[in-house]
Amino acid sequence: MTYSPVIGLEVHVELKTLSKMFCGCPADHFGKKPNTQTCPVCLGLPGALPVPNKKAIDWTLLIGLALDCQVNHHSKFDRKHYFYPDLPKGYQISQYDEPLCVNGHLTLSTSEESKATSEVTHSGSSDGENRVRINRVHLEEDTGKLIHAEVDGEKVSLVDFNRSGVPLVEIVTEADIHGSAAAKEFVKKIHQLIRDLGVSDCDMEKGSMRLEANISLSKDGTLPPYKVEVKNLNSFRFLGRAIDYEIARQKELLTRGQTPPQETRGWSEAKNQTFAQRSKEVAQRSKEEAQDYRYFPEPDIPPLVFSKEQIDAIRAKLPELPQMKAARFAKAYGLKPSVVTILTKTQASAAFFEAAVKEGQKVSLPPTVIANAMVNQRQAFKNPEDLVRHLQTQTQEKVSDKITLRQFIDQVITAHTQAVSDFKAQKPQAIGFLIGQIQRLSHGKADGKLVHQLLLERLESSR
């Protein structure tokens, strides 16, 4: 009997807009004095009404498009109801059946993952491409913050509504992830991508990026009859550990013939394990009522309709993302995948390369030469211009100076008759010796390939 992990992720990201999602309060809430950034709307005062932030909508579409999602032409906000002290209206304005974006994907590197999870194998595709489907990307508002304290000898919770109403994007994957390494790679990629888009700091310590994992084990490839949700994972490392822990824990239960209960669990850093947690929605209610959020269309906000033109305009704002860039580099510059990987590792190196290519065009310097020079990294250059200038002097001397090279060759052949005889006697090391002598004469600037070719021509002709 084999068990394979089936993992879906939910990633919450706070957008770094200037103002909140549905009101004009400052959205930057971190480290501010409690309840100093609220207004009638985000404090849920009677009669206050939400008006959505256009930039937050545009940025969510941008995230969706970066993840190859479809944008829903008709979208809307819905009310999601539950009672908790940090939720001022008794409902969260979120999106239910018409999220802004659906059906995207993110490709992971062909992972060593499947091999790494030794005894636990998975039935997923092994066609080399490791694609995680994105179910949806939607926009909602963040809640306030609770602090647990003791006031006048009484255990209480303190509420700060500065965070209430900050725009929050939720990215939900399909259960396409099969191990902790892939999960970590996925969230790292999402992290990098959203930072590249410039729409969130994704600072997990400050809570502007939050992770949740839904983990279960499939028996012989069948659909698991349960799902364990692990919440409040505030680092990539904890995500990985929590997944590994859960896989082991659930496997143990399953081999004992038990089905792990459907539940929400938290991660204890101190104990290095997950623990059963009463989710906040469940805290005051029975299980039966926990998931009944009574969604209905938010009557205070007219629906959103996006034309193809509007979507294209947002798409045009997409910066080139690592995956897209790699594909373009390979195609446009005829580079090998290994070279592309190195060049596109950081935005800075990719930008350096492209600037150098542009500079090189002026002097007919081919992109491959620039790429090779960068990959081999013999020398660091301050700016693309310096690199091109350097390569240019190198290649000019080598390419245009066949006459000089032939003079060097003649000189060397005359001086080292023994080596020439050795060459004729089929001794292979002789040619290397001769080339070395030529390089000495040229102070190392001779084009090795060209010298090799010219030397052979010369030796053959004098045979």
Binding site: P34, N35, K155, Q284, D292, P299
Partner: protein, 92 residues
């Protein structure tokens, strides 16, 4: 309709004496409104808003005119402490 279940969902405590009365009033109301089921709506889309407006948004600007001071924000709260609003202890 299970009034106890609904009351829990709505975060209400029903006065025990009135549960029966509520139950019968609900049944009465539900049968009174059942008339709408006579109308065929197979090909009719729902209307949740009547303005016909779409894409009503605001620019991403801070509107300081509405921001409440800390003392205003907590002025109507029954209990506050150091600028926070106090509630009975809840589990996180």
């Amino acid at each position: 309709m299970d009034v106890h279940h609904i009351a829990r969902l709505a975060n209400l405590k029903l006065p025990p004496k009135q549960t029966e009365k509520f139950q019968s009033q609900f049944d009465e109301t539900l049968s009174a409104i059942a008339a709408i089921n006579k109308l065929d709506t197979k090909n009719t889309p729902p209307t949740s808003q009547v303005t016909g407006q779409v894409n009503i948004t605001r620019e991403d600007k801070v509107d300081t005119s509405r921001v409440l001071s800390q003392s205003e924000a907590i002025s109507q709260a029954p209990k506050s402490h150091n600028g926070y609003i106090v509630v009975p202890h809840v589990f996180e």
